[in-house]
Subunit: 286 residues, 2 copies
């Protein structure tokens, strides 16, 4: 505000300075605001069939709740936002606390505000998507997280009618399999989806997950986003595998390489001892 503004007087004859000095927050209700995070990473599947390439798996971090509500359910990592930080800073802080990693790609997804989405009280969730490269994945025990685990994720349409689609989100970790089902109006987004079956996920986290998945898939095709899932050095085939596991479809190698060329920098290093022809290593060209 300019100094000229500060001198102006309102209908009570107050300048802006006077108004602010006298300002009392009203007694209308305020929501709690939390951040919830969909943290994606891509890891190699175990499989060690001498000479075959490792398959890739898309994984999402979930936390087993140690308190009511949704005691013992799996939930997205998150926490409440403090008055001295932005929602993004809160997300970065939680991410650091929960995974120990820092300086990762973080993008705001959507703010969920359905009254009643938290049975305790009025809580909005400003959700974020984080992308971590598999080599940095180390879980640290969080404060109110009894357990944390990287669930392998898949997300696909299982039914398609005239004006609606039904999607299934499957998350699995060892013996645990969570299967959520969402209904989405045709042409709209998962931000407006309806949870048909939460699959055991806490709160409306199935929607948030779907929203993150949709954003990641949507942006992968026309941005550099996939690079944030890659380690420092990687082969073009590995990059292609990341695209394939996220988008759940295959790409012709020749065309993929042409498209990927501008987003990477060639190095003079090659993979070694792979049981087949070595592959050139590339770096991100961000």
């Amino acid at each position: 505000m300019s100094t000229e503004q500060v001198k102006k007087k309102d209908h009570n004859g107050l300048t802006e300075e006077e108004f602010l000095a006298a300002y009392e927050p009203g007694d209308y209700e305020r929501p709690s605001v939390a951040t919830d995070m969909v943290i994606f990473t891509v890891t190699d599947a175990e499989e060690e069939n001498y000479r075959k390439l490792a398959r890739k798996e898309l994984r999402i971090l979930l936390i087993k709740r140690g308190a009511h509500p949704y005691l013992d359910s799996w939930a997205l990592p998150g926490g409440f936002v403090r008055p001295t930080e932005t929602t993004e800073e809160a997300a970065a802080r939680e991410l650091r606390e929960e995974t120990g990693v820092d300086k990762v790609y973080l993008e705001q997804l959507y703010t969920f505000s359905e009254p009643g989405r938290d049975p305790r009280t009025w809580v909005m969730s400003c959700s974020y998507m984080a992308l971590i490269d598999g080599s940095r994945v180390h879980i640290e025990a969080g404060d109110d997280a009894a357990w944390a685990a990287w669930f392998q994720a898949s997300f696909c349409m299982v039914e398609q009618a005239e004006q609606k689609e039904v999607w299934e989100l499957t998350l699995s970790h060892e013996e645990t399999v969570l299967r959520a089902v969402l209904e989405k109006e045709k042409g709209r987004f998962f931000t407006e989806s309806k949870i048909l079956d939460s699959g055991g996920l806490a709160f409306d986290h199935a929607r948030i997950l779907a929203c993150g998945y949709e954003r990641l898939r949507g942006k992968l095709s026309y941005t550099d986003l996939a690079l944030h899932l890659m380690p420092e050095y990687f082969t073009l085939t590995q990059l292609q595998q990341v695209y394939e596991v996220v988008l759940d479809r295959e790409f012709p190698a020749a065309a993929f390489r042409r498209k990927a060329a501008p987003m990477v920098k060639e190095t003079e290093s090659y993979t070694e001892n792979e049981g087949h022809r070595p592959s050139r290593l590339y770096r991100k060209n961000l």
Copy 2:
């Protein structure tokens, strides 16, 4: 939550039901949450040069503030969210109050949460973009809006360095011209931009406007979004003009028609008395 969940006891020996019955909202601070809206419409420029086609103008609704802070500055329409509604419902309600229109395209943009963005107290803004077709534009006097006006908008890059861009947002209505300047890191989004000059806009509304403009432009090319700016019946040239005024560039008519074909339905009506060959009217094919 399943019945099985409800029976589980936490470390205090409480079931979920007991926990919720005893729940007391903590005394940590909560933010106020407002919605602010970037309402776009496209109108004809006055100009009545017998037989020439009307130029199109992109317009955004601004409200002149009648109270501190930012008394007499122009601001986006908006208001506080109530505990019984979603942020989207709040936006729809404000939109109805401010413009009298209902059932318009509404899309959440971004939640701005910079501490200090509102000098009064801790206020987050969950921003929305609304698209209204020009034929529905009628302004009703809002409650705390001294004035409301549709400002003609333009938004363009004025400087481009290695890692940053400077953009200028110009809003004009009759004698009033607001010129905001924003700095954007290369490859990032206007959600993270820095306001170099607010141009007289209240709060961080220049950022919100930039964010809305960016979203509209981004989505226009690969979605049906433009249709929400069109009246019931329109010509393909009018649709093309909407694309051109939003994206600030021209399209070759032949290619545009090929691309637009799948999103419209042909009718048997034509324009009349235009001083040149009549044009077929189309309807939205949503």
